[in-house]
Assembly symmetry: D2
Homo-oligomer: 316 residues x 4
Amino acid sequence: MKTLDSSAKGAYLIAVTPFADDGSLDLASTDRMVDFYLEKGATGLTILGIMGEAPKLTAEESRIFVRQVLARVNGRVPVIVGASAPGFAPMRELTESVMELGASGVMVAPPSTVRTDDQIVAYFDMVNETLGPEVPWCLQDHPVATGVQMSASVILRVLKNSPTCVMLKHEDNPGLAKLSAIRAAGERGDAPRVSILTGNGGGLFLPEELTRGADGAMTGFAYPEMMVDVVKAHAAGDVERAHDIFDAYLPLARYEQQPGVGLAVRKHLMLKRGVIASEAVRKPGPKLSAADVADIERLVARQTRRLQEIGRSGKA
Amino acid sequence: MKTLDSSAKGAYLIAVTPFADDGSLDLASTDRMVDFYLEKGATGLTILGIMGEAPKLTAEESRIFVRQVLARVNGRVPVIVGASAPGFAPMRELTESVMELGASGVMVAPPSTVRTDDQIVAYFDMVNETLGPEVPWCLQDHPVATGVQMSASVILRVLKNSPTCVMLKHEDNPGLAKLSAIRAAGERGDAPRVSILTGNGGGLFLPEELTRGADGAMTGFAYPEMMVDVVKAHAAGDVERAHDIFDAYLPLARYEQQPGVGLAVRKHLMLKRGVIASEAVRKPGPKLSAADVADIERLVARQTRRLQEIGRSGKA
Amino acid sequence: MKTLDSSAKGAYLIAVTPFADDGSLDLASTDRMVDFYLEKGATGLTILGIMGEAPKLTAEESRIFVRQVLARVNGRVPVIVGASAPGFAPMRELTESVMELGASGVMVAPPSTVRTDDQIVAYFDMVNETLGPEVPWCLQDHPVATGVQMSASVILRVLKNSPTCVMLKHEDNPGLAKLSAIRAAGERGDAPRVSILTGNGGGLFLPEELTRGADGAMTGFAYPEMMVDVVKAHAAGDVERAHDIFDAYLPLARYEQQPGVGLAVRKHLMLKRGVIASEAVRKPGPKLSAADVADIERLVARQTRRLQEIGRSGKA
Amino acid sequence: MKTLDSSAKGAYLIAVTPFADDGSLDLASTDRMVDFYLEKGATGLTILGIMGEAPKLTAEESRIFVRQVLARVNGRVPVIVGASAPGFAPMRELTESVMELGASGVMVAPPSTVRTDDQIVAYFDMVNETLGPEVPWCLQDHPVATGVQMSASVILRVLKNSPTCVMLKHEDNPGLAKLSAIRAAGERGDAPRVSILTGNGGGLFLPEELTRGADGAMTGFAYPEMMVDVVKAHAAGDVERAHDIFDAYLPLARYEQQPGVGLAVRKHLMLKRGVIASEAVRKPGPKLSAADVADIERLVARQTRRLQEIGRSGKA
C-alpha cells in the first residue's frame, strides 16, 4: 500500500464505477479502468465519490469494488476512498474496512446540516475522533454538492485541529482567492501545509489553480491525460504550454462537466475509448439522447484536430 | 406478522433507538420501549426513521435493532421500517432484509435531488419497481427534512401509479388544505383511498387533522397516550374532549418538537418515565443543559396538574 | 419620536398592513390597528416586516403607510421599520426616509447570499457604514426566512462591531441555548448588552425565553394581550402565572403561526375583533377555506372559556 | 421604440450598470456602453438584471439609468427591462414606468418561494394579470439564481397560459434536453413558439444550444462579438466556424463566468476595452486581486493570439 501524505502531487483521478448493461458491477472493466488511469499517468485514485455512484451500491458491492480496485492497483499509487457518511458509526466501519483492504486514506465532506463556522469545526473534531490517529484523510470542500460554505479561515481552523488531515480537495467556485489564502497560510506556517488538489468545476480552472499554488488535480474526466499533462507542463515551468493543452480539451471538458448528465457523458466516452464495456449508469441517473451523442462526436473530432495542431497525438 | 394496508388507523409511534451511556445499542431498553408503546395503545410502530437516528447505525446494528423490535412486537401490531435511501440497490437490499425479518411494510421519502412534479412521479415509479408487487409502503411527505415540496396533485399522481402504496405520512406545514384535498380525491374515487397518518410539526395539529379526515397520527412523543387518546376521543365523536386532551399536552409537546434538540428532550423524558436506561444520543446530536432540564421539569409538573384538572391521571 | 435603545422591554408588535377588499391601503383601519395595539399594551411597534407584506407595496405606498402609522402613534412608543434590502443604496434611502418621518430605528436581517461567519460580519460592517452613527438598529436573526444561520459567537462579533445596534430580534429555532449564550456574554461584558426581543416560532417559546433572560417579545399575534401579559407576569416574578396565560392562548397561537396561511388567520381574527375592515391579503397570498374558519371559531371559543377559567375576561 | 416579439434572434446583451469610482451612476459610460454593444452587433439589450446590479440601485437611480439607455438606443434595437419583484404592486409600477419610457418588454423570473408545478403556473397567471394584455414579456428560467426548478412541461403550461409571453431566457444547466423538448413542442404546435435565447452558464453552451434550435443568446460577456459572431456563423450553416469562434473565446468566457467574482472581471475588461470609465462594483460586491488581474491578462493575450490564428482580428 502506498502512503498518503501532504506531499501528494499530480493527478488523482476520481474513478467511475463500471456496471454491465444489466446494472451489475463489472469487475473486468474495473481492472481495465485502473490500468487506463495508471497508463495515462495518474498519481493517485479516488473511489466511491459522488461521481462513483457510491450511494447506489449496496454495502457488499462497495466492498467488492474497493477490493478489486486495490488489488489491481497493487500499491502502485495511493488510493483514497470516499467515507462521508451521515453518522460516525458507519464512517468508522467503512474506514476500518477499506484501510484493512489496503486503502491509503479516506475523504470526508461535511454533511449539509452543518452551517456555521463553529458547527463545521466541531464536526471535523468528531471526524478526527472517529478516524483515529492512524488514518490519513482528505478534506473535501465541495459546496455545490454539500451546501456547506467553508471560508478560508474555517478551513485553516480545521487543518490546525486535524493532525492526520493531509490533503484538501478544493472545489469551491469561485475558489481562486480562497486557494491563495490557504496556500499562503501554509507557507507562512500559520497552519499545516497540506497537499491541495483541485476539482473546481471538474477541473475547469486547473491552470489558474496551479498558478495559485495547487499541487495538482483531483477530479474526473474521460481524458485524464489532460490533467496529467497540464500539471506536468506547469510543474516544468511552461505555463503557456499548460494552457495550450488545457484549452485543447476545454470544450469537451466543459460538456462533460454539465451537472447531472455529465456522468453519462463520461461513461460514454470511456466506452468509446475502450476502457469500460458499458455506459450504464444506475437509476436514478441520466441517459444520453441522440442529440447529446452527436454533440459529443463533434467535440471529440474537434479535440483530436486541435491536439494535433498543438503537436500532440490526440488519439482516442 | 401483522399486515399493513390502507385501513390503518390510530397512533403509529415513531420509535427512538435506545443506546447505553457508551453509545452501544441497548436491547433491554428496546424491549421495554416496545412494551411501553403497546401498553399505551399504539396501533403500529415505525422504526429507523430520522428520529430513530437510523443514519448513525451501522448496517449490522440496524439489522440487530429491527430484529429485536420485531421479536418483541411479535405480530401484535404492524411495524413499518424507514427505507429511504439515495440509491435503489441499498433500498432493495434493506427492504428485502426487513421484510424477511417480519416487517409489515416500509416508508419512503423522496431524495432532496428531485424537485419538479415530473421528477417526483418518475422517482416513485422507480420506487415501485424496486419494492416490487408484494411490499406495502408508506409515502412520507416531509418537506422540512427532504426539501421536496409535493403538491396535492402530484401526491395523487403518485398514488395512482402505486398499487402497493397504502399509506401517506403527512407532515407538510401548512398541510390542512392539502390533507383535505387528498382525502376528498380518495373519497370521490379520483385516486386510491390510502390511510393518512399525520405528523405535521410532530403532531402539533392532530385534532384539526382528524377533523379533516386523517385516520390517525404517525409521529413521536414521550407521551404517546396523547396521540392514542386524542384519536380515540375524536373517533368517538367527542371533538371537544379530543381538544381538551391535546391542549393539556401541547405545551410539553411543543417543547419536545423543537428541531434538533427535540430528540434529546424525548429521550430525557423516556428515561424519566423509566422506559429507557440512558438518554444518550449519538453524535452529532444534541445535549440538554441544566436550563433545558429545568424547563422540562416545570412543563411536566404543569402537564400533570392540567391532566388532573381535566379528569385524567397524568401520572408519569 | 420615542428613542430606541438597549433598554427596550415588553411587547413590540409586528403590525400587519391593512388593505381594503380591493387591495388598496386602508388608512382608517391602520389608525384603528395602531390604537388597538397601544390599548392592549404594546411597548413598541414594528412595521414593514415580512408579515407586513412590505415587498408587496410600492415605494409610494410604503411611505404613505409609514407616515400614517407614525402620525397615529405620535411618539407614544418607539416604531421600528424593516429596512432589509438587497443593496445598500435602497437601504440607505429607505432608512433616511423613515427616520425623517419619525421612526425610532430600523431592523435589518442578512441577505440569503451571506453564509460564512466572515461574510456575516463583513455584511453588517457595511450595514453600519450605510446606516451611519445616528440610527439605532435591530439585528434580525430569522434563519427560516433568510436561510442564514448565525451562531451565538458570530452574533457577538456583530454586536461588538456595531455601536448603534441596540436590539436583537431572536427567532432562531431551536434558540434557547443561543439566547442564554448571548445574554450571558452581555452580562459578563464580553459584548454590548442589547435588548433581546424574541419571536421564535411567532412567540411559541415566550415564557421559556423570558426565563433565559429575554427582555420581551417582538412578534405578531391577533391577541397581542397575550405577549403583553405574559411578559408582565414574568417580570413580576410570577412565572407560573406567565405560563398559565401563555397556555391559554397557545392552541390558537399555534394555529396562527402556520407558515404561509398564518397571515390570513391573523387578519381574519383582527377583522373579527373589529380592528381592521377587511381580511384581504395581497397576492401572492393565502386565503382561508370554510374548514379553516371553522377551526378558528372552535379555537377562539375554547380560548375564551379557558381564559375565563384562569380568571381573565377573554373577551374578543 | 422597437417591438419585442417571438421572432427575436441574435444576441441580446445583458448590460452592466456603469458606476464612477465613487459609486455614483456614470451616464457618460452608459452611453459609450450602449454604443459599444450596438457596434459589436447586439440585436437587443437587457437591463436591470442580476448582473446589472439592479437591486443595488435606488428607485430613482433605476429610472435615470433606464431613461439614459433608452434615449441612447433610440429605437435601434429592443430593450428589455428586468421586472422580477417579490410583489405584484412593485412589478406593475416598474413595468408601467419603463414601458412609458420606451422599453420593449420586461423579463420576469419566478420568486424562490414557488416550488411545485401548480405554484409556478399560478404565479405566472398572476404575472399575466399584472402585466396586462399589452406588455410583451420574457420568461426567465434561471434555477441557480432563483432556486426554482421548472420542467419543460411546466414551462409549456406557462407559455400556453401567457399570450403576451414572447420569449424564454433559458439558463438551466444542464439544459440541452429541456431546450430540445420546448423547441419541439413549439414546432409541433403543442405550445406557442416563442423566441428562445440562452444564457446557460453565461453562454458556455451557446453552439450546442443553437444546434438544438435556440434563436440566439441573451447573456453578458465583455466580448459581445463572440455571441454575435457565433450566432451569425451558425445561422449561416457554418457550425464548425461557430465552434471555432466560440472555442477561441471560451477560456476567457469561462473565467468571466465564475459566480460572484465574474462581474468584477467583466467590468475590468470593459474598462480595459475603453467602454466604461471605472470598474467599480457596488457593495456587497467582488474586487479583483493582483493575481486575478494577472490571470485575466494572460487569458486576453492568449485569446488575441488564438483569434488571429483563426483569421480574426481579435483586437481589444
